[in-house]
Amino acid sequence: MSTTAVLLRNETLKLRKRLAFWVTMGFFAFIQVVSYGEEYFDARKDPEETFALPAAWSQIMSDESMISVIFGAVVLILLVSTEFTWRTARQNVIDGLSKTEWFWGKAALLPIVGAIFILSQIVIGGGSALAGTDLAAMQGAIVGATFFQALGGFFLAFFVMGSLALAVALAIRSSGAAMAAWFAWIGFGERLVALGLGRLFEGLRTALGYLPFGTSLKLLDYDAFDPAAYQRAVEAAEAAGRAVSDPVAVGTASLVAVGWIVLFVGVSYVWFRRRDL
């Protein structure tokens, strides 16, 4: 068995048998069912409301998708930091994994956990919208290019915040403290940093919109991947006399996201390698 296969086998075994994972997953699924169920029933009651595919993707894959990112990050922190509490990270290395292999086993959780939460949201949200879709009258395919682009953005956004969670869990090595640090960052830390640096360096204001959480939010905007949707939003804003926001620079946000992921994973790796277990 290759090392990659060993790592995946062990990580999935631990994940499958972890009650905390299933409880988190169950709670997440419950919230999703309630949320999209409400959309579905609202649309059935009120003809003005629509919740049907493919248009519903912009409601499903909106910035509310941050809930998947949050749940996923919590699970990641739980999975990683407890390895230090239980000293199983140490035992895994004693059993024969190198520290590098152990680290990549944890890094592999990023796409695994990401896929679980993102696809759950797509399935529950998409399923609810599909139930309210008149397939005979539907215009266009259920999923198109925009869907896949937005899905890519969703994954990138997850990886940014997930790799931050990984870094925090590896650095702090305690679930509670790591979660507190991660939530503090998304709750107010990033805003404070942006505010402070923005006051000091006026020229940085645009760039400060690309801090990790801000970058993730940009990539969680379905309409950013759909020029027609943006045009509709502009028209609606103009009609209402509201200011029109600039379109999200998806390319820039994606590149910055990749940068954050590389930075967080890289720093975690170096930090982990240097420290004793």
Partner: protein, 317 residues
Amino acid sequence: MSSDAHRAPDGLIIETAGLTKRFRKTLAVDGISFEVERGQVFGFLGPNGSGKTTTIGMLLGIIRPTGGGFRLFGGDSPEEIHSARQRIGATLETPNFYPYLSCRDNLRIAANVKGKGAADIDEVLEVVGLTKRRKTKFKACSLGMKQRLALAATMLGDPELIILDEPANGLDPEGMREIRHIIHDLADRGKTIFLSSHLLGEVERTCTHVAIIQLGRLIRQASVAEITSGTVSVGLRAGDDLGALETIAGEYPRAVSVRVHEDRVIVELEEDDFASLNRFVAGRGVYLSYLAREQRTLEDVFMEVTGATESGFGEVQ
């Protein structure tokens, strides 16, 4: 230890040279050098906080040395050390397992890493007597079961070197006896065993060789037979005045050392000639009511050598 000219002979499984670990201001391990040969049951002794676990941690790759080096199975390059670790089964301090997984699933994790399968897991579960409890979650295991599971994990993959750090910690006498039997069985199968413990009686019964460390320094390394032999000790008693008897015994020309221990005076002699000592004491008007050979135990030696260090280097932890 990077010179090929200094490559260890085949029989040397562990060889450390000036191995050192400093945690900021604390020097946990101070230039330790020792050797473990193939087939030895090697006791690594020292008081709590003496640097035993740190030393083992460095050998196992979970703690980075800050000085010196070591060879495992004759290799000292990172690749050789990593490959050598595949031939080692070890546990460090407490048994470290996933509390929510069963005994068997915990062994699956280790078995996957070691490239072993279900048959190997069943075999080690049988050896440590956990077959019937294989589905019990680790968090529900008694301390004895946890220690046995740790021993099972070390045996997975039939390693050549088994490193056990305090394997009898917290066990009742029956549990200790079981662990001792397993260790003896492993030794009989030709395994090299590196056993860290502060249960000196257990070590004496189990080990062929020992190294004693204190405050991060190696004080002594020898075979158990060698370390407990040497001079001959005899216990004396005559009335209640142990002080007077100690003084008289101290005048005996062949006495190496004299001390009061519990209700008797222990005299260390150059040679096994108790009759001569008895005559010497009687010649000074004292008639012994008790004279018996004192078996020198590993504990005696440990107390002596760490006591010597106590006066020389500071407090004993």
